[in-house]
Symmetry: C3
Subunit: 260 residues, 3 copies
Amino acid sequence: MEVIALLTDFGTEDYYVGSVKGVILSINPNARLTDITHDIPPQDIEAGAFTLFASHSTFPAQTIFLAVVDPGVGSARRPIVVQAEDYFFVGPDNGLFSYLYGTTHQSFHVTNEKYFRHPVAPTFHGRDVFGPIAGYLSKERKPSVFGPAIEDEVRLPPLSLTRMADHVWHGRIIHIDHFGNCITNISREALNERREAGARLTVKQKTITSFKNFFTEDDGDQELFAVWGSAGFLEIAALKRSAAEILKAKRGDLVTLEVE
Amino acid sequence: MEVIALLTDFGTEDYYVGSVKGVILSINPNARLTDITHDIPPQDIEAGAFTLFASHSTFPAQTIFLAVVDPGVGSARRPIVVQAEDYFFVGPDNGLFSYLYGTTHQSFHVTNEKYFRHPVAPTFHGRDVFGPIAGYLSKERKPSVFGPAIEDEVRLPPLSLTRMADHVWHGRIIHIDHFGNCITNISREALNERREAGARLTVKQKTITSFKNFFTEDDGDQELFAVWGSAGFLEIAALKRSAAEILKAKRGDLVTLEVE
Amino acid sequence: MEVIALLTDFGTEDYYVGSVKGVILSINPNARLTDITHDIPPQDIEAGAFTLFASHSTFPAQTIFLAVVDPGVGSARRPIVVQAEDYFFVGPDNGLFSYLYGTTHQSFHVTNEKYFRHPVAPTFHGRDVFGPIAGYLSKERKPSVFGPAIEDEVRLPPLSLTRMADHVWHGRIIHIDHFGNCITNISREALNERREAGARLTVKQKTITSFKNFFTEDDGDQELFAVWGSAGFLEIAALKRSAAEILKAKRGDLVTLEVE
């Protein structure tokens, strides 16, 4: 089995996704193409990084993730292959794989152009560079054939809180999902179960003190509440409504956490 | 061949669909994942039930349908496996499978937690409960291993008309499709071909008396017309326009049927 | 390997795509279904033709393309199978395959109804006519079994420019993509590299004289620029913005090209 999981900001209405799939199947007819999403907001590297981070670990070992959110397509930014955990990641070196870099990962700068589709269109490396690399990688999992190892990958700022005072942290909304839940960067490490009792979140001048285990758990009439999300982060949610709409929140908005 | 067909309200922009696919492929690398849709309106059980009902019967026997529209995720509502016709259905017991229950179906309450992905996130049973069940079910089709048989599944009201007078029925719009066609709950049983001649539909104060066999059939200058849809129900349509927009109709709107 | 690539205007929110996939898998369990797109604008044959044209050639030889953008569904328009290049195309004869017709292609009018799914719904030939044809074709690649050869396929106007004067051509925007790039019908044949130097594009009263190789190439402060797109046509783009929004452009808009 050679699973290749696709994550892009291509949208689904153009010929882009089809072209990439065709290229891969032409190189490796046994590849099993699986769509994670093609609806990352255009050129939003951070959203792509988060989505890849939150979804990858359910996939079988040896899965190849082809991730293309690539505002610098055609420029000198490097195409890379990353081996991390039990997986492979193929895409541009622009921070997209930031949250996957651990102590034992290895990255390779793809310089060997014999693995590209020629002529390479400077506006579509998904089809002519990254798709072919993923296809060849799925046939023989040796990332070193593509080019030299590197250690200076581009990295996004980490997903951690900023301590402002003794009991006060600043975080932010890192993702707003399809249901309007606002996913913050507050993790269990930052806020353990014990301290939840007296904790208080402030977002866009609204204060949230209700912590639930699941969405429909009864907790009086609170319009907004917090719930631990499935990616390991605290989410701000509303019952059968969009919390993001109530808050008029957008990704990046400040979240203040106070504990007792 | 182990086809698993997916239907959810997860949308396509988050990590949710990818996570579910990864889990299934990790359990059964031979599963053939097929997307029906992930664009059921958020938490709209009735829309999910209709879509599943209208699409399932084209699939090969033994197909497993993984259907997750689950506003009560994390609460006490039961995860179930249903065996009906020649198919299996996995999802929450909230009415989603209502239109598939016949005289010979069997349902099982999934209580055996060894088939879950642990720890189970109370907000994402698609990944941690239903996905794994579908994966294991695809390896060995014995739904009884998951838990006890049940007979009291939650059911939506049936898709039938209400008789108001001798020649008058009340129905409703049960789905508005991508093209703006308004699918009603008027079936061939309720309105046979003979009676169509003098029939009259009233929706949102507009009266429709034109019955066509296909969209571009010539029938004078009627703005709106009725046509038998591919799911076996009468649809209200407009030529190369959205009937829903013309009518400002939404799902649930009353449709009055009068025959002579 | 039996790749069947799907392109439709069905959207992704209804039961339509799932129904077609189920039908194909019921006929040929070994078919490998691959989505190109289901988001062609409703009934927009030209957009479907362009997308198919721009994506098909990356696919492996023998791929079957099932393309359904079919405003005339149910009417007398012909279902056809086209063999072109190393590929097969299945869909309605309404111009959808126009850009694929070359000197050696062969087309067949599908008249043999034993390959249909019965009863055929006059509103859903994707499920009852085209899907089944694609399924059977994938089992045995003999398009002549479906019906007689034809040579009078419906064709869209070609994707070429109109010469207005010695150094002036009229073209048009043939597609606006997910990023807001406006793809014109100006090809390399019409505008070679040498002549680019003094060329000038005018669209919606804006003049564009900047020609870039890739989106982020530095070229002063030009709001709008032209770039050669991955389908072989000149595109009008803007840096990290939607050129279509800036121009308030829509498909079909006039593009004037002047060269020195």
